[in-house]
């Protein structure tokens, strides 16, 4: 069974069911009233027939013929059925023939039916129009035949009227259904737009956004209040996370600052070069720890997306070229090359973060791509997006490395002896996501190929 999942689908289903019910009701009404009216006509015909046969028995054929001529095509009364409703649709017709089949009286039934009931017998009305009638024929004791017929016009009129009412009902149902569906859809969409607007604001790092409430006490207001309570909770958590981060920063960095000061003083007073070296190494180790800590907090900060509020239009190719030139001597010194092919494209973003992302990828190549591996950087515009690929021609990463390289503190070097904390590519991915972009590993026969797709504003 197909269950509709959209308002439109549900409305179409509801309207279809309503339409079917109305149609069925209409058909039933037509069927029942049709049968009832038909039965009434038949009953009347039988009553008339009985009366006429009795009249014939007591008064004879000539008197009956006179009587038939008088009543044929006239409106009747006195039986109670359909009486007093004006002349329409209650025409009774009569015909009388002798034993040889010659017409004695009655002119409106062109062809005499056999004895018994005949449905849809063609008739002519006094005004010249034609129609169909229910007819009952009976043989007279003298060999003649008498026919009594009732015009079916009343029946078809009733059918037509019920059909009209049913169709009108169907139309009203479909019309109100359509209008209310559109109105409901608008109402829901308007409220959902408000809700999704607030959610989008939160996604973009504005934790103060709330869903507006109109005070109507509607289901939307109730769900909006619940959402707002949830958003309030998120804001509180984010604020306390930020507070904790800066508290840790303060409480950790202040004593470390004092330690560093003491070490510097000790280094100046060191009795020999060897002691000074050891103190210097200790300071370097402490700085490395701080660096790891700052790296982790930095990734969380970029993931918090608050950085987005400072995004501006940037010449991306220039930024990439700048970083490539900054790293060129480092590649040259090791006899490696760095090649860049850059198309102009403007993107919205933060120059410092983008520089950091590119620098991290180049450093990743310098440290991890293997001896002599070269770097190839391209920037192209594809379907309105800026696509930056950073590739090397080293041995590449193990097949099971995959997406793991973007995780924090992951290092594919099992000895963990190479420099770095395994945060570089995590930071790259966080920066790319902050720019509403995507990063992926492009399968390649040699080396690691990273492709970054950022929403571009236009080709330069």
């Amino acid at each position: 069974m197909i269950v509709p999942r959209t308002i439109k689908g549900l409305s179409i289903l509801t309207a279809s069911i309503s339409g079917l019910v109305i149609s069925a009701l209409g058909a039933a009404a037509i069927f029942i009233s049709h049968r009832e009216i038909e039965a009434q006509i038949d009953h009347r015909i039988e009553l008339e027939m009985d009366a006429l046969l009795e009249y014939h028995a007591s008064h004879g054929t000539a008197a009956l013929a006179q009587f038939v001529d008088m009543r044929d095509g006239g409106t009747t009364g006195g039986t109670g059925y359909l009486a007093g409703a004006g002349g329409e649709g209650r025409m009774m017709l009569y015909a009388l023939s002798d034993a040889k089949g010659n017409r004695i009286a009655g002119s409106l039934i062109p062809r005499l039916p056999p004895d018994g009931w005949t449905e849809f017998l063609p008739i002519r009305r006094p005004d010249g129009s034609t129609g169909k009638a229910q007819a009952l024929g009976r043989s007279l004791p003298d060999g003649g035949q008498i026919v009594v017929a009732g015009d079916r016009d009343a029946l078809s009129r009733a059918d037509d009227r019920i059909l009209l009412v049913a169709l009108a009902g169907l139309g009203v149902i479909l019309l109100t259904g359509t209008v209310s569906t559109i109105a409901l859809g608008r109402l829901i969409r308007r409220r959902l737009v408000l809700i999704s607007g607030a959610a989008q604001g939160i996604i973009e790092g504005d934790y103060t956004r709330r869903v507006p409430i109109d005070g109507s006490g509607s289901e939307f207001d109730r769900i909006s209040m619940i959402l707002n309570a949830m958003l309030g909770r998120i804001e509180t958590l984010m604020l306390s996370l930020r507070q904790v981060s800066s508290d840790i920063a303060h409480d950790m960095r202040t004593p470390l600052g004092r330690i560093r000061q003491d070490m510097e003083a000790l280094m100046r007073a060191a009795p020999d070069e060897a002691t000074a070296d050891r103190i210097e190494r200790t300071i370097a180790d402490m700085d490395a720890l701080l660096d790891l800590f700052a790296g982790l907090l930095g990734i969380s900060e970029v993931q918090g997306l608050a950085v987005r509020k400072r995004f501006i239009l940037l010449p991306f190719a220039e930024i990439v070229a700048d970083i490539v030139e900054a790293y060129r001597p480092a590649f040259d010194d090791e006899g490696r090359t760095i090649t860049a092919m850059l198309d102009d494209v403007t993107i919205r973003g933060d120059a410092q973060l983008l520089k950091r992302a590119i620098a991290n990828m180049l450093e990743n190549i310098l440290v991890h791509a293997g001896d002599g591996a070269n770097a190839i950087i391209t920037l192209a515009v594809e379907q309105g997006a800026a696509v930056l690929t950073v590739a090397d021609d080293g041995p590449g990463i193990p097949a099971n490395g995959g997406e793991k390289i973007f995780e924090r503190l992951v290092r594919l070097d099992p000895t963990r002896s190479k420099p770095g904390h395994g945060l570089g590519l995590s930071m790259v991915r966080a920066i790319v996501h902050a720019h509403q972009g995507m990063i992926k590993i492009v399968p390649s026969s040699s080396g690691l190929h990273l492709a970054i797709r950022l929403p571009g504003v236009r080709a330069g």
Binding site: A249, R260, I283, V307, A326, A330, Q352
Partner: protein
């Protein structure tokens, strides 16, 4: 130089006062934001050194109020708040430099030197167009460099690097200062960007057997000496 120091941690404050006094500066130290603001508005200082998280008025608010009251002294923020946004906020509130704790004293001293040498805002229009230190002559308009009369061909980034060193001649220039000012890197790369460019610049300047004019100060940074060896 007259330096205003705002720092609430006594040990750090004493250490900085001692170090800066040894370098020949006159230091006024405060441990609380409101007192530091009153001092700044009442007296003239060549430079403000402000910790961010201090009691009373925090360093950033203090700086903003001082700037609103017309104080133009260069300011450097010292802070344990090391986030990306923290640094941006510091610079947006009117700080000229932002140094994250813990830091090397040499780094602070070098940055103070560079800040003090900056011409005040408004007077930058008539900056010199020719820098001459020792045997090096740099024409900032025609973007040419000569060493003892011999033209030296430099890449744009090498030119900026040399320009910064020349503008800060006889003063220590640290690696992070160069990353900040020459490459505009607001982060610390793991690769020796500065060293690799510096060695190329040196090679070009020293062609033809000239003296090495850029000195390396071990563990701290670089310096161009105007008086020759």
């Amino acid at each position: 130089m007259r330096i205003l120091l705002l720092e609430d941690d006594k040990e750090t404050r004493d250490y900085l006062v001692r170090g800066l006094t040894e370098l020949g500066h006159q230091v006024v130290a405060e441990s609380e934001g409101k007192a530091a603001l009153a001092r700044t508005l009442a007296e003239a200082f060549d430079i403000l050194v402000l910790d961010r998280m201090v009691p009373g008025l925090d360093g950033l608010t203090m700086l903003r109020l001082a700037r609103e009251a017309g104080c133009q002294s260069p300011a450097i923020i010292l802070s344990a708040m090391a986030g990306i946004e923290d640094r941006v906020a510091g610079l947006e509130e009117g700080a000229d430099d932002y140094l994250i704790k813990p830091f090397a004293f040499a780094e602070l001293a070098a940055r103070l030197g560079a800040l003090a040498r900056r011409p005040p805002p408004g007077e930058r229009g008539d900056a010199q167009t020719l820098l001459r230190v020792g045997g090096i002559e740099m024409d900032l308009v025609r973007r040419t460099v000569k060493r003892d009369g011999r033209t030296v061909d430099l890449q744009p980034r090498e030119f900026s690097l040399l320009e910064y060193l020349l503008r800060n001649a006889d003063r220590l220039v640290t690696r992070t200062m160069l990353l900040d000012r020459v490459w505009n890197f607001g982060f610390d790369p793991k690769t020796n960007i500065v060293e690799t460019h510096m060695s190329r610049l040196r090679t070009k300047l020293n062609e033809g057997g000239a003296d090495n004019v850029i000195r390396t100060i071990r563990g701290s940074g670089y310096m161009i000496v105007s008086g020759g060896q």
